[in-house]
């Protein structure tokens, strides 16, 4: 062994410094370059944008993908004012709630897009239920998109309701209009690049290693069939998730699962 080392040393001693630099530097540099080039494959992806470009972008087609993912709720005592059948036939997941209770807020807040009327929809408050429901939904899930649907735009006491909504439509809403509203609102919420950019911003305080672990956990969870409601408990890399980050991650998980399914 010592002979081998001595021989090796003599080889280097006999060469000039430049030759030595090339002889030693090239393999080390090459190894480092390979490590850098395949760092994502070896250590895992560290940004949501990269993960999105690798796994989601190619499989994402705005209208079709949205139809598969988006959950729409129509909260109106007169659902005939909505083209529910046409929407369902077009492939949207639409649920109708003729009346809700203020206790149902957590469940309602899970929808991506809610068409919300003012009157007659909340059992606990028939007259102004929608007015009270909207801010509570906003509080429960600030990412949810709400379209206020009422012909009461003339009523100055309802101004806050309409101003708080993401969009306002008159009833009856025709199928084309309804589809346009759903698509534009849900794309603002579920567009993968937008989501990834927001998530990268939201996790920018984490170090690269933690982000790699976080993304690894997400990918692993996406491949399972576990319900998304269990995800927040399974993602431990970033510690206790803030409500904002939880909502973003839930939306991202749905998009990721759609892409890898």
């Amino acid at each position: 062994m010592s002979e081998f080392i001595t021989e090796g040393k003599s080889i280097f001693d006999n060469l000039g410094w430049l030759a030595n630099l090339i002889g030693i530097g090239t393999p080390i540099g090459g190894a480092l370059w390979l490590l850098y080039k395949f760092r994502a494959a070896i250590f895992g992806t560290s940004t949501f944008i990269k993960l999105t470009n690798d796994y989601i972008v190619r499989k994402w087609h705005d209208s079709d993908s949205i139809k598969r993912i988006v959950e729409v709720a129509i909260v109106d005592d007169n659902p005939n004012d909505f083209p529910t059948v046409e929407l369902q036939r077009a492939g949207y997941h639409v649920k109708i709630h003729k009346q809700v209770s203020l206790k149902d807020i957590a469940r309602l807040a899970e929808y991506d897009v809610v068409f919300l009327d003012i009157h007659g929809i909340v059992k606990d408050d028939i007259d102004e239920g929608g007015l009270k429901l909207l801010p509570k939904l906003r509080e429960a899930n600030p990412r949810q998109k709400i379209c206020a649907v009422s012909s009461k735009t003339f009523d100055p006491t309802a101004t806050t309701f309409f101003k708080q909504a993401d969009d306002v439509q008159k009833k009856p809403v025709n199928a084309q209009k309804c589809q346009n509203v759903i698509e534009s609102l849900s794309l603002e919420k579920l567009n993968p690049i937008l989501l990834a950019t927001q998530l990268d911003k939201e996790t920018s305080h984490l170090n690269t290693y933690t982000r790699r672990v976080l993304l690894g956990q997400l990918k692993k969870f996406a491949l399972t069939t576990k319900p998304i409601s269990e995800m927040v408990a399974q993602i431990t890399a970033a510690g206790k998730l803030s409500p904002a980050l939880s909502h973003l991650l839930i939306d991202y998980m749905r998009v990721l699962r759609h892409a890898i399914s």
Binding site: K152, F154, T157, A158, D167, K170, K171, P172
Partner: protein, 362 residues
């Protein structure tokens, strides 16, 4: 309700004399000081400048407080603050006696007054909401009729709605026009009762040329038994392929301007022009109608204002142009008006070329 209007009724309790909206309101408990009356009269020197919250001593040795009650700056005059002991100026000892006021008292009074004004306003809005409630079903029905009428005429997806309206049988055409007018009138009514509605929802892209074509089709040749005795022809000139980002209410701006021109047209012709000038789209509505006097041009968009010559031509309530301006403001657009007198017209019924225009970036 404005503070000054409420103070004038005497219903708001005023513990001290105040100066608001260029006038002095005497206090119910503490009357105006003799010093203030003698030295300042009706224009207190202390109120010449205003700090949103503050207290001070005027050049004549009396204390004053300043506070904002909603939009109104208020100065409480001729009092004594704890920073102004009545022993410091012997000649004012009597004038300052019994006039001690603290800023906390002023603040409490302002808060109670604001509370009262808000309560009055809320009660007014609640009553208005209750009175307008029956409109709800009518608006919904109007919307439904328009939707059905458009569905009936819109049978060929390869052609535009405007094209199909033009080619529809007369009865169907009338139905579409009438339902469109009904829906737009309800929309105007909505903005009239709640101007905030002009900016509800989100801005979307709209073809301005397409909108004008539809409006021209709807508003051409109205029922001659109404308003004007002659059928009016509307000419649409120019072209624009650019879309504009506007609120849903925007359509009411050209609707109100064209309706107004049709109503007052003296020769049965209204010209609607649209020009695209390097990204800025100019729309103008021109017609020959009653002269708008130069001094009226600045007032023509005020609620319930009507030009003196327009009053002689047709009945009206002076809200059409007011609503057009309300909606234009919500969309960030300014409407310009001009009226060029026609020399050939009679003195008792002067006519002019009236032009209303606005610009919007595409």
């Amino acid at each position: 309700m404005q503070l000054v209007e409420s103070l004038l009724t005497g219903a708001i309790h005023l513990p001290w004399p105040i100066f608001a909206a260029e006038q002095i309101f005497d206090g119910h408990n503490m009357h105006q000081s003799i010093i203030c009356q003698k030295r300042c009269g009706k224009t207190p020197a202390c109120a010449s400048t205003f700090a949103v919250k503050g207290e001070g001593t005027c050049i004549y040795g009396m204390s004053y407080f300043q506070i904002q009650v909603r939009d109104d700056p208020i100065t409480i005059i001729g009092v004594r603050s704890s920073n102004n002991p009545n022993t410091s100026t012997p000649n004012l000892k009597d004038a300052l006696k019994g006039r001690l006021v603290t800023f906390q008292q002023v603040q409490d009074w302002a808060n109670k007054t604001i509370g009262l004004l808000v309560a009055i306003e809320n009660e007014f809005l609640r009553r208005q909401s209750e009175l307008l409630d029956p409109l709800h079903d009518s608006i919904k029905l109007g919307q439904k009729i328009e939707s059905i009428a458009n569905r009936l005429v819109n049978t060929d997806p390869s052609k535009s709605l405007e094209e199909q309206i033009d080619r529809a049988p007369p009865d169907l055409k009338s139905l579409v026009k009438a339902s469109g007018l009904l829906a737009d009138s309800f929309d105007l009514l909505t903005i009239y009762f709640n101007p905030a509605a002009a900016s509800f929802g989100r801005k979307t892209y709209l073809s301005l040329h397409g909108l004008l074509k539809k409006l021209v089709s709807i508003l051409s040749n109205p029922d001659p038994t109404e308003e004007n005795s002659i059928p009016v022809k509307i000419f649409l000139n120019g072209d624009c392929h650019r879309n504009v980002s506007v609120y849903d209410s925007f359509k009411l701006v050209p609707f109100a301007l064209i309706s107004n021109a049709v109503k007052y047209s003296a020769d049965g012709r209204v010209r609607v022009n649209i020009f695209d000038r390097a990204g800025i789209i100019e729309v103008s509505v021109e017609s020959v109608g009653p002269l708008i006097e130069p001094e009226e041009l600045g007032l023509i968009f005020n609620k319930r204002f009507r030009g003196k010559w327009a009053k002689k031509v047709a009945l009206g309530s002076g809200v059409g142009l007011y609503l057009a301006k309300t909606v234009a403001d919500a969309n960030g657009i300014s409407i310009h008006a001009s009226s060029i007198k026609q020399n050939s017209s009679s003195k008792d019924k002067p006519l002019a070329t009236n032009r209303f225009s606005f610009e919007i970036s595409g």
